[in-house]
């Protein structure tokens, strides 16, 4: 699945992954990759602006630490982030249920 398909959904994916516990960027990407069975094809370096923006919006917090001689930033969900995640999950479930109702039962492509 290419980056364009993720437009509008990555916030939910990032919040969901970080909700399972604080993670640094690479760990976030690995969790996304494993949880999606490697379905998402996006340049890994481009998730950092999204993480930075979620932090600016107060949905994520972060701490710097030093690991093996290099600086590492670890992100965690804030109370606002947890609330936003609940809202976005609800919206996504309603949206996907509606889509499934429309396309789920019908054969595609039509053969007759």
């Amino acid at each position: 699945m290419r980056g364009q398909s993720l437009k509008g959904h990555l916030d939910l994916l990032l919040l969901s992954v970080i909700a399972t516990g604080p993670k640094h960027g690479y760990a976030v990407m690995e969790a996304l990759r494993l949880a999606s069975s490697e379905a998402f094809d996006l340049a890994e370096g481009t998730i950092y602006p999204a993480l930075n923006r979620l932090e600016r919006d107060g949905l994520l917090g972060s701490e710097w630490s030093e690991v093996q001689g290099r600086r590492r930033r670890t992100y965690h969900l804030t109370a606002s982030g947890r609330k936003a995640l609940t809202e976005q999950r609800g919206a996504w479930e309603a949206f996907s249920a509606a889509i499934n109702q429309v396309v789920g039962g019908a054969p595609w492509p039509a053969t007759s």
Partner: protein, 278 residues
């Protein structure tokens, strides 16, 4: 710690592209941690150090894409090509033609009326093309501002000067002061654009230098008192030559910037926006 030359080269390139970013050190530190974590992960599977670095860099994305993803508009979205910036590309190329045409007509006007005694048709045409060229250049400036998600204080001051310069071409076209305003404004804008590292370098340089050179040419020729002196104490041949010099430097800059903006598809950038996921 092991040394990874490919990663180091990549990070150096990314740092060059991110020099404008207020938190560039943090961006590079996160990228370094990510890439080295990825390399360590691949090495466990038995890959060579070079293969592990290539794999990590391939997954991370090319530095242009990563740097561009960090550019945001004031509203929080990524700075990206739009239908406006694409149209502004065509406007910039039209402006290039108009600047050269204006310069050519100024020269013709001087040939027909060397003493500058009469307001001829060529004077009117020269003025019209000059104002149109300056206005379309203003459209380009707005597009550059939007394409970069804002150009900061430097770009803002530059845009203010260019705006005043455009007004001055209408009201005080006969005084080279408009050229000074355009020169200062376009130099500041070019510096701001260059610091973002998105636009083509040579075109940006030509854009920034054109009216500096044009005004300098005017000043030198005026000091040397080139040509005949008119009743107002001016030297009528000086301005057409200065405008020609400025226009000939500006035109390739406008064409380069125009081709860049016009060549970017909004749809292609939506993909980048998706990849940036902002």
């Amino acid at each position: 710690m092991a040394s990874y030359e490919l990663i180091d080269d990549y990070l150096a390139g990314l740092r060059r592209r991110m020099a404008w970013h207020p938190a560039a050190d943090d961006v590079i530190a996160e990228a370094k941690d990510h890439l080295l974590s990825a390399v360590e992960s691949v090495l466990i599977s038995g890959a060579t150090a070079d293969a592990a670095q290539v794999s990590a860099l391939d997954r991370f994305g090319d530095p242009d894409t990563v740097a561009a993803a960090h550019i945001h508009t004031r509203r929080g979205g990524p700075a990206m090509p739009t239908r406006f910036t694409k149209a502004a590309g065509a406007a910039a190329m039209t402006a290039a033609a108009l600047w050269v045409a204006s310069a050519a007509v100024w020269l013709l006007d001087h040939i027909f009326d060397p003493a500058g005694e009469a307001e001829t048709v060529t004077t009117f045409v020269a003025l019209l093309t000059l104002v149109a060229a300056a206005t379309l250049t203003g459209v380009l400036v707005v597009a550059l501002h939007r394409r970069h998600g804002g150009l900061g204080v430097l770009g803002g001051i530059g845009a203010g000067f260019v705006g005043l310069g455009i007004v001055a071409t209408v009201m005080f076209w006969f005084v080279m002061g408009w050229g000074v305003l355009m020169a200062a404004g376009m130099l500041l804008i070019a510096l701001a654009v260059r610091s973002r590292g998105l636009a083509p370098t040579k075109a940006t340089a030509a854009f920034g230098a054109a009216w500096i050179v044009g005004v300098a040419t005017w000043s030198v020729l005026r000091l040397l008192e080139v040509g005949t002196r008119d009743e107002w104490g001016d030297y009528p041949v000086v301005s057409p030559i200065a405008i020609t010099v400025g226009a000939l430097i500006l035109a390739p800059g406008l064409i380069g910037l125009g081709r860049w903006l016009g060549g970017e598809s909004p749809a292609a950038t939506e993909r980048r926006e998706g990849a940036a996921a902002t």
